[in-house]
Amino acid sequence: MRTVLALIVTVLVLWQGVIWLAGMPPFLLPSPGAVAEALWLNRAEIARHAGFTLAEVMLGFLLGSVLGAGLAIAMGFSERLTGVLRPILTFSQTIPVFALAPILTLWLGFGMAPKIAVTVLIVFFPVASAFLDGLSRTPQAALDLAQVMGASRGRIMRHLRIPAALPQLATGLRLAAVYAPIGAVIGEWVGGARGLGALMIHANGRMKTDLVFAALLVLSVMTVIFARLVAMALARAWRRYGV
């Protein structure tokens, strides 16, 4: 905690120092004081936008995780399905979400739906790929025993493969929790008037750089807290499984 504080103070001092030394105008680089002031003066507006973003992040994270985990289990059952889907999945990740966001907005309108969709797109891949990796690494000794014991594929999945893969699933979920807000903000950038992304675009267009920085700061803090809470919840729920 002390090192974090020291780091923050150092960054603030450097930041202010650059402004003094280089004489940067506030619309290019606002001072820490100006950002703090913008944050305080616009606190109600920022909080409202942050609320929308948070809702999109949580819904997108939940939906993307369920889809990703479900896909991983389906692929874990069938090697043929894995053979078909793996290249499609990899291909889907070569498309920049940035390029998709406007199309999603066109299809889904200016409400929350396209933002959640972008978040889902960002979340489901790390979840699916980490979980699938875990599902394919069940210790052979346990699988042999299960087969000799006369277990069905479904019960092997439920009692052995899924619990054994929870540490990898947790890794995917922790990663996805960090990325999820990026998805929501990309969605907000492209269309709509609500959310921290929309606020940033709007403020940027009007040279309110201090407000952009304030919104960015809130987004970062929100992301760190969200990711931390997800990690803690996972560690608590799945400690027995080695998470």
Partner: protein, 262 residues
């Protein structure tokens, strides 16, 4: 009566793993399949178990009873305690609800045999009681709620033995189950297994002539040239291993060692 037979030859690529063999297991007693590593002992055991071997097998495998398996890797489930591991088979077959609540409180204790034969013998009357008895029998009564991570190597094999007994199968396949244990623990596990597996047909795969000398009623020596039956001149006490220090056991061990070196 023959309860299992493996006849044929196994190949890895174009190289034969072993010469053509014909292994017949009769009901009752301990049969040791003895041989050096890499000669295909485990492959034969896995063929009988119906498991993937990684080798190509030309021939036929027949088996008329369900089996239980115990291997060098005890294969314990790290998130289940000792009781959970012992009863894992019941859970994997769906015989046992996730909790230990009795299905028919105060009523019928067990049903008739249902399902295909591979599901094993009579379903346990009360899995909970049976598991507890078996855990006591392997000497882990005070550790029934421990996780595998908190057990020693020998204790883990005791759990594996209790799990094998819980399966209650007439034919038990042991794939070098004691080879990772220290000498004293190994001897203790041999005694315990001989006692608790009495009355079942056992196929023990081992590379240790001392183990074969202590436990076998019948010894099959597997070498690259093929399978040879090795005479066992000593009777084995009922439900026990031969003493590790008896001169005739040591003589048999030496003979087996010579046979493996030949």
């Amino acid at each position: 009566m023959t309860i299992a037979r493996v006849r044929g030859q196994a190949w890895v690529g174009d190289t034969p793993l072993f010469a053509p063999v014909d292994l017949t297991l009769a009901e009752g007693g301990w049969t040791c399949l003895l041989g050096p590593s890499g000669v295909g002992k485990s492959t034969i055991l896995r063929l009988i178990a119906g498991l993937e071997t990684g080798a190509r097998f030309d021939g036929e495998v027949t088996r008329s009873t369900p089996v239980a398996l115990m291997a060098q890797d005890p294969g314990l489930i790290p998130w289940l305690d000792v009781t959970g591991n012992v009863t894992i088979g019941a859970r994997l077959r769906g015989d046992l609800p996730a909790s230990f609540l009795p299905k028919y409180p105060g009523g019928r204790r067990s049903g008739p045999i249902k399902g295909p034969e591979r599901r094993g013998a009579e379903p346990p009357a009360d899995p909970n009681t049976r598991a507890k008895t078996l855990i006591d029998a392997v000497g882990l009564g005070d550790r029934a709620d421990h996780l595998p991570a908190n057990l020693s190597g020998g204790q883990r094999q005791r759990v594996a033995l209790a799990r094998t007994l819980f399966e209650d199968r007439p034919l038990v396949l042991l794939d070098e189950p004691f080879s990772a244990l220290d000498a004293r623990t190994r001897a203790q596990m041999q005694d315990l297994s001989a006692r608790l597996l009495a009355g079942r047909t056992v196929l023990l795969v081992t590379h240790d002539p001392a183990e074969a000398a202590r436990l076998s009623d019948r010894i099959l020596l597997l070498r690259e040239e093929g399978l040879t039956e090795w005479p066992v001149p000593l009777p084995r006490p009922q439900g026990a291993a031969r003493p590790y220090d008896a001169p005739e056991v040591l003589t048999l061990q030496t003979d087996l060692m010579r046979g493996m070196m030949a």
